[in-house]
């Protein structure tokens, strides 16, 4: 490095190492992609076919993420709870999910978990009918698997999976807040729950906001796995397109550019947020 000629003086100090080459490369990829989508008919056709999946990909990610946050917060609170049942249940959930590949989990939850849940509801409904509560029991016992579309099963599967990841983020966030905060809240007469809600969680969530947002980006990508359930997200639609036209190149370049656009934009937003948070400290 010593013999690298320094081009910096007092005014202009841009060196090779200061430039985000990787970012320029990504921009280049986008420019090239825009160019081919504008000029090549094959790519236009692929794009127009695959874009019908964008809404499903975004909707699935958003809804699943909202459920995952709720589930993760609940399980995260469980991980630090002194209640033995709640604590162990949360731990079991997190360890089970983390120990099974996401693809297998999605198959399992959608094709085994949901039907088992429906069977349980049906049995409960039948029992209610048998003890004379037909008004509530009859609809429950007649509740079919069809009530859950593959789209909703995909959302359940993604939520349950990501809930376990988010639980660990929430747990870490809560544990990053010093003991003194809980003690101060409790000494003022606030209950554990009140202190958690008004004192600990607002600080904890702020600390883990970047990590939470990163997991949203990850979920947008992992939502492609739901294509195995024939949910028509952009991955599934591009598979259909490739399968029927044999234009694999067009199909997978198009879908890759779509994911990249989503994730790069989201990552930039996350970075912006992180900078904001740091400046506010």
């Amino acid at each position: 490095m010593d013999n690298t000629p320094s081009i910096s003086d007092e005014n202009a100090g841009i060196q090779l190492k200061d430039i985000s080459w990787w970012f320029l490369a990504i921009i280049l990829i986008f420019v090239w992609a825009i160019y081919i989508f504008l000029t090549r008919e094959n790519y236009q056709e692929a794009f127009n076919f695959i874009k019908i999946g964008i809404a499903v990909t975004i909707k699935t990610s958003l809804i699943a993420y909202a459920f995952a946050v709720a589930l993760g917060l609940f399980a995260g609170l469980g991980r630090i709870s002194k209640n033995i049942f709640f604590n162990n249940l949360s731990r079991l959930y997190v360890e089970l999910i983390r120990g099974i590949p996401m693809l297998v989990l999605i198959f399992f939850i959608a094709l085994v978990g949901v039907p088992m849940f429906v069977d349980g509801i049906n049995a409960f409904g039948a029992w209610l009918v048998s003890i004379g509560l037909g008004v509530i029991g009859a609809p429950l016992s007649g509740f079919g698997n069809r009530a859950f579309t593959m789209n909703s099963r995909a959302i359940i599967a993604l939520s349950v999976t990501y809930g376990a990841f988010l639980a660990e983020i929430f747990r870490a966030g809560i544990q990053s807040i010093g003991r003194g905060q809980m003690e101060a809240g409790r000494s003022l007469g606030m209950s554990y729950g009140q202190t958690m809600r008004h004192i600990i969680l607002p600080q904890a969530v702020r600390n883990v906001l970047p990590a939470l947002a990163n997991d949203f980006v990850a979920m947008v990508k992992d939502s492609s796995l739901v294509s195995v359930l024939a949910v028509r997200d952009i991955t599934q639609v591009s598979r259909l397109y490739a399968g029927s036209t044999f234009r694999f190149r067009e199909a997978y370049i198009t879908v890759s550019v779509m994911y990249l656009t989503l994730t790069v934009v989201l990552s930039l937003l996350v970075q912006l947020m992180e900078r904001r948070l740091r400046n506010n400290d």
Partner: protein, 254 residues
Amino acid sequence: MINPHDNTEPRDMIVVKDLYKHYGHVKALNGVNLTVKKGKVIVVIGPSGSGKSTMLRCLNHLEKPTSGEVWIDGLLLGKDEKALNEARTEVGMVFQLFNLFPHLSVLENVTIAQKVVRGRSKDEATDIAMKQLKRVGIPEKADVFPTNLSGGQQQRVAIARSLAMNPKIMLFDEPTSALDPEMIKEVLDVMLDLAKEGMTMVCVTHEMGFARSAADEVLFMDEGLIVEHTTPHGLFNNPKEERTKLFLSQILQH
């Protein structure tokens, strides 16, 4: 069940009976008995690890005793969390490291528990908070965040935060130990005023000057026991126990 008031006045603010606190095989408290009458200021001194902070934290059950009883104003602290929360509203506590809520402004720090626990309206809580902030001398800092305050100011906000709950008792856990020397006085002044106004106080502190001028009684603790319980004058001029003499000679020789 033993009558808790068998040898104490029913109106005593704090009654502690046979308090033990063991962490595994570490014995922090080994049978503490104490009665604090209304309006008295008790200063607790002793070497580090003597159990004084543990005892203080047992008084509002922030630390659950291994065995023994704590009575606050005639109410036995037990396992029932709801009753415990109610009892804690009557017992303010000030910590060595202030423990202000960093995500809330000074005013919000002082109003949050009033709103959440006492169910006071925003206006009422704000009125009370401003009164308490005036009392500790920093009403002008109401809209500032704690990180922008000096240590002494933060500790005064912490005192105001506790006082806003209208406690009957104030506990101080080494309130000046984390402060720069020039800020100790401003906090001690607030505590002195409080003592003069008749607040029942238990203070763990190394400020012997405060013990002399404000305390009605001084406790010397060592190895989880109250070794000596007397007046400030008695303790400083006429200590009875060897351990007390040794401790005083170590801290007062300069």
